[in-house]
């Protein structure tokens, strides 16, 4: 059992507030008393473990809810918080960049199958987008970042469309018609979403919707090319799997 008269000193030693004379006396005692030394060690471990506990971060939604309530109650000006939208547009750019890389890989595979001597295409240099407004490279604001993400996706779509046309008679007519119809549906949805965004340029929902539709078009075109590869290899099981898997969302 730890010596009662030293308990307080041990606690103050852990606090770092023990004066030098009492500290020297205590250390002499701790050298001689196993119980007190064990007691001090236990308290020190608790204190050090407590000090090492991580600072916890609240999820982003907490701030969004606070900001929303303050606006609702009319206690702040209307301008929305910047940080969450900036983070969303940065995420969109990252997704677009990843899709561009995967598109490049798809096109490389297709080109090797068709003509191994040809130099593989890359997605490094953005090509002129197919019939859509060119976007500036500047990323000072959220809208510019979104336009850049949109441009990347549009570039990817152009490349995929060109690649899919190189050998499109490999797919049977019925499947080709179904794929074409899917593309038409998505293209129409993209056009509607663009129109909505033109009317409400600050609308996050319209922007998200357009981004998602462009992403879906990329995925559909990638699947088309993958299907062409499987058909060319004579792998009907692989082709069936691509046809039957739901469009990625």
């Amino acid at each position: 059992m730890a010596c009662e008269r030293y308990r307080q000193s041990i606690q103050e030693l852990i606090d770092g507030t023990l004066g030098p004379i009492r500290k020297a006396e205590l250390e002499l005692h701790l050298d001689q008393c196993d119980d007190c030394r064990g007691f001090a060690d236990d308290l020190r471990r608790i204190h050090e473990t407590a000090a090492s506990l991580d600072e916890l971060e609240p999820p982003d939604r907490v701030w969004l809810q606070i900001a929303g309530r303050l606006r609702q109650e009319g206690r702040v000006a209307v301008a929305p918080a910047v940080a969450p939208r900036a983070r969303r547009s940065a995420a969109m750019l990252a997704i677009a960049a990843a899709l561009v890389l995967s598109v490049a890989a798809s096109i490389v595979v297709l080109m090797r199958v068709n003509a191994p001597q040809q130099a593989p295409a890359t997605a490094a240099a953005p090509a002129a987008p197919g019939g859509n407004a060119a976007a500036p490279d500047a990323v000072e604001d959220v809208a510019a970042e979104f336009r850049l993400a949109e441009q990347h996706l549009q570039n990817a779509i152009s490349k995929l469309e060109a690649a899919a046309k190189t050998d499109d008679d490999i797919i049977d007519a019925q499947t080709a018609a179904a794929l074409q119809k899917n593309l038409q549906v998505i293209d129409q949805a993209i056009a509607e979403s663009r129109s909505a965004l033109q009317q409400e340029p600050q609308s996050t929902r319209a922007r998200d919707s357009l981004f998602e539709l462009l992403r879906q078009k990329v995925v559909l075109l990638q699947d088309t090319i993958a299907l062409m590869n499987e058909m060319r290899k004579g792998d009907s099981a692989g082709a069936a799997q691509i046809l039957n898997s739901p469009n990625k969302s």
Partner: protein, 198 residues
């Protein structure tokens, strides 16, 4: 061993500059500047959320309470005079919210709440040495939730978040000596819990 981690600086030019910065931010918030309040949130939400999580022992409840704390802080900004640092003022608000919440929860579930000065297990005869066992952060987090709320607050502020006893006393509205005794009791209780006596 403890060094203060809180925004409240003890003295001198850095403290004065910090207070001026706090005052400017608070004034902008009073004018309806959401960006200024977001700066305050960014600077203090981590520490406050950590405190609330450890007081409540539940992340979901802690999120809701953190929201209430900051909304309450925004409403009460008019009453912030700058006598203490903004961080200390926010800590005080957060602790009060936590204690109200815990007492309300205890009342709803008919649990007995322990008095601030409850004596418990100071006689450690027969207890296993903690040093003989592994002590993980998770062990300690769990044991924290079993401390009486008064000394839990003092322990979290002092040993976990690194406030000095003087600052803990200011946050809790108690004497510095009481802060020391509460933290010391918390350590003894934790030692007892962690060594498997209870």
């Amino acid at each position: 061993m403890s060094s203060s981690k809180v925004v409240a600086h003890s003295s001198g030019a850095p403290a004065a500059a910090s207070r001026q910065g706090d005052a400017a931010l608070v004034e902008r918030c009073r004018q309806g500047d959401l960006g200024a309040f977001e700066e305050i949130y960014a600077a203090h939400s981590g520490r406050l959320y950590s405190l609330v999580c450890r007081m409540l022992g539940n992340a979901a409840d802690a999120e809701d309470l953190l929201q209430d704390i900051f909304l309450s802080a925004h409403r009460k900004l008019d009453s912030f005079r700058g006598d203490s640092a903004l961080g200390t003022w926010l800590y005080r608000l957060a602790v009060n919210h936590c204690l109200d919440y815990l007492r309300s929860r205890a009342a709803r579930t008919n649990q007995l709440t322990s008095a601030l000065d409850q004596e418990f297990g100071l006689d450690d005869a027969g207890s296993r040495r903690l040093a003989e066992q592994t002590l993980t952060k998770l062990d300690l987090e769990r044991a924290l939730t079993r401390l009486p709320e008064g000394c839990r607050a003092a322990f979290v502020l002092h040993d976990v978040q690194g406030l000095e006893h003087r600052e803990v006393a200011e946050v809790l509205g108690i004497a510095e000596g009481t802060s020391k005794s509460q933290v010391h009791k918390a350590r003894l209780r934790l030692r007892s819990l962690l060594s498997g006596r209870t």
